[in-house]
Assembly symmetry: C2
Homo-oligomer: 266 residues x 2
Amino acid sequence: MGRLAIIAGSGQLPVHLAQAAPDALRVGFDGIDTEVALHHRFRFEHLGGMFDRLKAEGVSRLVMGGGMSRPALDPTLFDAGMAEIAPRLLRAMAGGDDGLLREIIAIFEGQGLRVVGAHEILPDLTARSGLLAGPDPSDAQLADLRRADAILGALSPVDVGQAVVVEGGLCFGVETIQGTDALLGFVAQTPAHLRRGAGVLVKRPKVGQDLRVDMPSVGVTTLDHLQRAGLAGLVISPGTVLLIDSETLLTEADKRGLFILARRPE
Amino acid sequence: MGRLAIIAGSGQLPVHLAQAAPDALRVGFDGIDTEVALHHRFRFEHLGGMFDRLKAEGVSRLVMGGGMSRPALDPTLFDAGMAEIAPRLLRAMAGGDDGLLREIIAIFEGQGLRVVGAHEILPDLTARSGLLAGPDPSDAQLADLRRADAILGALSPVDVGQAVVVEGGLCFGVETIQGTDALLGFVAQTPAHLRRGAGVLVKRPKVGQDLRVDMPSVGVTTLDHLQRAGLAGLVISPGTVLLIDSETLLTEADKRGLFILARRPE
């Protein structure tokens, strides 16, 4: 196996990846903050230069980790390699996340780079099945879970909605491009007269979501937002959702009385 | 035909209904503000008393108009009539809007009261087909419309989403229990680096939505929120979405350069 490269975005995930693979080449992008010390940093417009660099350093596999926002691209800055792939990339950027990320994988693999998932480098970072922290969810919360899964199931074919909030049978929010924290911020603003106790956040990969580049994750900041949104807990899929800094996450959830349940959809 | 009763909620719709049917009995609920001068006001817990009053006044038809939030009910205050229907009502309140409103219609009709839609009293209040105001939507915005309709179509079977915002092919928000204005407030907070020009709000009845009690509506305040959200315009279904104060609405949309397009889904 050739050398591994980590494409590092924001948050704790790339830090864990770098610890697990200390020999990996760490690269990042201008405009994307990362807590990892990078070997190389590129403009998005210079992807051609990045591919050349990865090959020159003997990289044959890469893993993407951490948050990465969709960049505004300046076509006048494209290098030759980027100019070649830009039409595919821009077409895919007009669609949902899944389509874009599938295209990015195809582009990397067209360069002879195999894309691996963060869960392959860090298998312990995903949840095992069961109640991981906090109190047992109530029957009403389990009913909310089933309703959330019906909504996620309906949305999956149109590539929307990695997370849904349901409370007392009512849908309080659907995750869109702004992400889970923004969704929970929206739920927190729900007028009191609409609230129906303490509902649940259900977060799962969409059907067909490629976990190699886009793995749902939860961390302590998710708990902060969950608490501010007045929810009782969090349901995730075992094996396919990353627990960022899992020891602290589970301890904190216990301490705050928030449940974390890893269970497949029925 | 017996006398008409207007069950008045917030906003301009009950005002228009009261003007169009000056002989109607106007009733409302404690905790629901309305701009209509009411003949009678009831607690939600006293629905039995309301039915008796409507019958005593010779009412045989009723129309519901305006915003009405889901109330928190105090069972210790239920009158006899309410105690009888409460189990059905509470069960339905745990579900989506459609189920609840279907149940409310069934309860009214079980009392011998025929429920009519606001569009039957005020047919001129719904949109005719075509571009009603503002500039022609761009090709990108028409593509956003098609993507929004795909999302609304996927959500319809699970009784979520009377409106969706799409911009540059990306879903920026799905209407949930908090309503259209809250959805647009959420979209307004989208970080600039995620924005893709000026997208569209698409608002339609859900498949199977009973227009007699739950008709989507747009008004000048919708334009205010649309503008703050940085969107280019609004697509609605002809014949089934109420235009509140339509003359002002269309003039204002023209003035602000926001399009209003009434077009069925493809």
